[in-house]
């Protein structure tokens, strides 16, 4: 028998195989234990708190209380609106900027493309802070207007509205769309664009019919990632402190940390998690439908 010594009995071989199988089966255990400890256990605690409150029976009472409040409806609407608007902005801006960097090169364009990774590495609240310095009521622009033209108040006041949050999120998350797009654009065969042009296609048709379809999986991947990140964005919303703009993550913070109402905070957190998972499922579905599997991003 190959792999066994001549003197070995059939039982001994079977025993050795069984122990080898047991050893192989144990390999996934350590990572599963770690995952359970740091991820599933805290999640289960949140779910337990949302369903039981402090030592109560299992009930959806806390969810129905949360769903019944105008504040929750407002936060849910704001969360979805801001995330959708910011993601759409990221997709449009990311596509245009990546297109320019890839196909209309200018001095320094390569350096600029490389710097995108740097923006991804920065904490999100830094942009909110920078926006405050630039567009805030005492920011550079408003103070310039006041000093130069004698304005009583600065004319720029969008920062403390949902638009301020959306703009800050677009600034932070656009690189997440650009990075996969730049990679996708670099894979497009320039000969295809040249041949299309020789056949009579003008630039807009080439973008629409050649570049866009080739970049669609990357665009969807980047856009969906933006959607997930903006749904759960906390730092920017908190830092800008826009009037009347409350989102689900901010509401969790308010309830759990400010008001010590852990049960309500956990119920909202569960809704936030479900919303994120639903978006993630949608992302996988859309990506598979539009050829993401072929592009290797699913």
């Amino acid at each position: 028998m190959p792999g066994s010594s001549p003197g070995m009995t059939a039982e001994a071989v079977a025993t050795r195989r069984a122990s080898a199988n047991t050893g192989a089966a144990l390999w996934p255990l350590p990572p599963l234990l770690i995952l359970a400890g740091v991820f599933f256990y805290p999640l289960s605690l949140i779910l337990h708190q949302a369903l039981h409150g402090d030592f109560g029976p299992t009930t959806f009472h806390y969810f129905s209380v949360v769903f019944g409040t105008a504040m929750f409806a407002n936060a849910l609407a704001h969360t979805i609106e801001i995330a959708a608007a910011a993601s759409a902005g990221c997709i449009v801006l990311g596509f245009v900027v990546a297109l320019i960097l890839s196909f209309v090169p200018f001095p320094g364009s390569k350096l600029l493309a490389r710097m995108i990774d740097t923006v991804i590495a920065l904490p999100t609240f830094l942009v909110a802070l920078a926006f405050t310095f630039i567009y805030g009521s005492a920011g550079v622009i408003n103070m310039s207007f006041i000093h130069l033209f004698g304005f009583q108040n600065g004319p720029i006041d969008f920062l403390y509205s949902p638009w301020g949050v959306i703009l800050a999120e677009i600034t932070v998350y656009t690189p997440f769309v650009m990075r996969p797009l730049l990679a996708a654009f670099s894979l497009i065969d320039i000969a295809q664009i040249e041949v299309a042009s020789s056949l009579g296609a003008r630039p807009w048709r080439i973008i629409r019919q050649i570049i866009f379809p080739a970049a669609l999986p990357a665009l969807l991947a980047g856009g969906s990632l933006c959607l997930l990140l903006t749904v759960n964005e906390f730092g920017i919303v908190l830092f800008i402190g826009a009037k009347g703009v409350i989102t689900l993550p901010l509401m969790v913070y308010d309830k759990a940390i400010q008001e010590f109402d852990y049960t309500t905070g956990c119920a909202i957190a569960v809704v936030n998690i479900v919303l994120s998972l639903a978006l993630y499922t949608l992302y996988r579905f859309v990506l598979a439908h539009f050829g993401g599997r072929r592009a290797g991003v699913v």
Binding site: D189, A191, Q192, E194, V195, A196, S197, S198, L199, G200, A201, R202, R205, Q209, I210, P213, A214, G291
Partner: protein, 382 residues
């Protein structure tokens, strides 16, 4: 793996062409002193070349010779730093590529991967806002022309290399281009398919005799098989241009002799004129009778070009020359024997039909060539 499409028969192509509307008015291509430079480096220098309407002109040369740059200047992908490019007498130098009415086929086919075969072929027509009914008709016609009518709903990835190239040709022809630019269109194909595609391109041009074709290749066989005329380039400059057979038979310079086919080049001295259009030349101790060269008079030191297949083991009819040499090597290549001789210090190669008993290395051998096959080439030219 996709199966190779049925080869298009000449009759099919000609019938299709007869039924097809005529491809746009015949248009020649004129390069008038065209130069192209990238970041100060001149890659194409003062190219002047006239291509007649309906001609196939092959531009050949080694890598970096500027042949593709010349094609790209016609396509509008590079802007000449000097000179003008004209198609059908119209100056197109400043026109964008989409306004030039050209069809283009490139080495890697550049089919649009997300479009089916029929959508690829229809692309140019749709870009020109052609009516749907006409698009459908023309797409079917072009796919029939290249023998791909059974593959309309396939994606490019579902086709073999040869099939993809056929679709690329159909796509280029669909718009009735004034000129067809072929940039090394066969170099990605294997040898067998390449030979078939060469035949098909030749048949296609017979079916579309008004189509002017600029064919860039580094393969001399493709150029000799297809082209009416050949332009040979080196270091961004046109080295020679003329009818294919004339360039092959009477190469005007050393580079042409060596690049277009194989050549034996012997250094000789012209001794004077002989009867007819012949001249007397001396190679070592041997006096030779060769074709006269108008600019090479008595006393000129020059090169004598003899093609390997013109060097014979037995004397031909008519005026002929004999050279004695020692066999260095004999190589059998199936349908040919390649023999290398040392003839007074220069290697002389000959190609013969397969022999039962080829000469062995070290054998002293007399070889012959007809006087009309000895071509003088000025020594000092490129």
């Amino acid at each position: 793996m996709a199966v190779e499409a049925t080869t298009l028969t000449g009759a099919d192509a000609e019938t299709t062409a007869a039924a097809a509307p005529a491809v746009g008015a015949a248009s020649g291509i004129d390069f008038e002193g065209v130069s192209v430079a990238y970041k100060g480096t001149v890659v194409l220098s003062d190219l002047t070349l006239a291509i007649n309407p309906g001609e196939i002109v092959a531009v050949i040369g080694p890598s970096g010779s500027g042949k593709t740059t010349a094609l790209r200047a016609v396509a509008g992908f590079v802007r000449p730093s000097a000179g003008r490019v004209k198609i059908g007498g119209r100056d197109i130098t400043d026109l964008p590529p989409y306004a030039r009415d050209i069809g283009m086929v490139v080495q890697n086919y550049a089919l649009f991967p997300h479009m089916r075969v029929d959508e690829n072929v229809a692309f140019g027509l749709r870009a020109r806002r052609t009516a749907d009914a006409l698009v459908k008709e023309r797409v079917a016609e072009c796919l029939r022309m290249v023998g791909m009518q059974s593959y309309t709903k396939r994606y490019p990835r579902e086709l073999s290399g040869g099939q993809q190239q056929r679709v690329a040709i159909a796509r280029a022809l669909a718009i009735h281009p004034r000129v067809l630019l072929l940039d090394e269109p066969l170099s990605a194909l294997d040898a067998q398919i390449r030979r078939n595609m060469l035949d098909e391109l030749a048949r296609l041009h017979r079916a579309l005799p008004h189509l002017t074709v600029l064919y860039v290749t580094h393969d001399q066989t493709e150029a000799l098989t297809l082209a009416d005329r050949i332009a040979i380039m080196r270091d961004g400059k046109l080295v020679s241009y003329g009818p294919s057979q004339a360039l092959y038979r009477r190469p005007p310079n050393r580079f042409t002799a060596e690049f277009l086919g194989r050549a034996n080049l012997l250094t000789v001295t012209v001794e004077g004129r002989a009867l007819g259009s012949y001249a007397r030349a001396r190679y070592g101790e041997t006096e030779l009778l060769v074709q006269e060269h108008p600019s090479l008079g008595a006393g000129s030191k020059c090169l004598l070009c003899i093609r390997p297949h013109e060097v014979l083991l037995s004397p031909p009819q008519g005026p002929c020359n004999t050279l004695r040499g020692i066999v260095q090597s004999t190589v059998w290549q199936g349908d040919q024997h390649h023999i290398a001789l040392d003839a007074a210090g220069t290697t002389l190669r000959l190609i013969s039909a397969p022999m039962h008993e080829p000469p062995r290395a070290g054998t002293v051998l007399d070889v012959h060539f007809h006087a009309s096959h000895g071509v003088l080439i000025p020594h000092d030219e490129a």
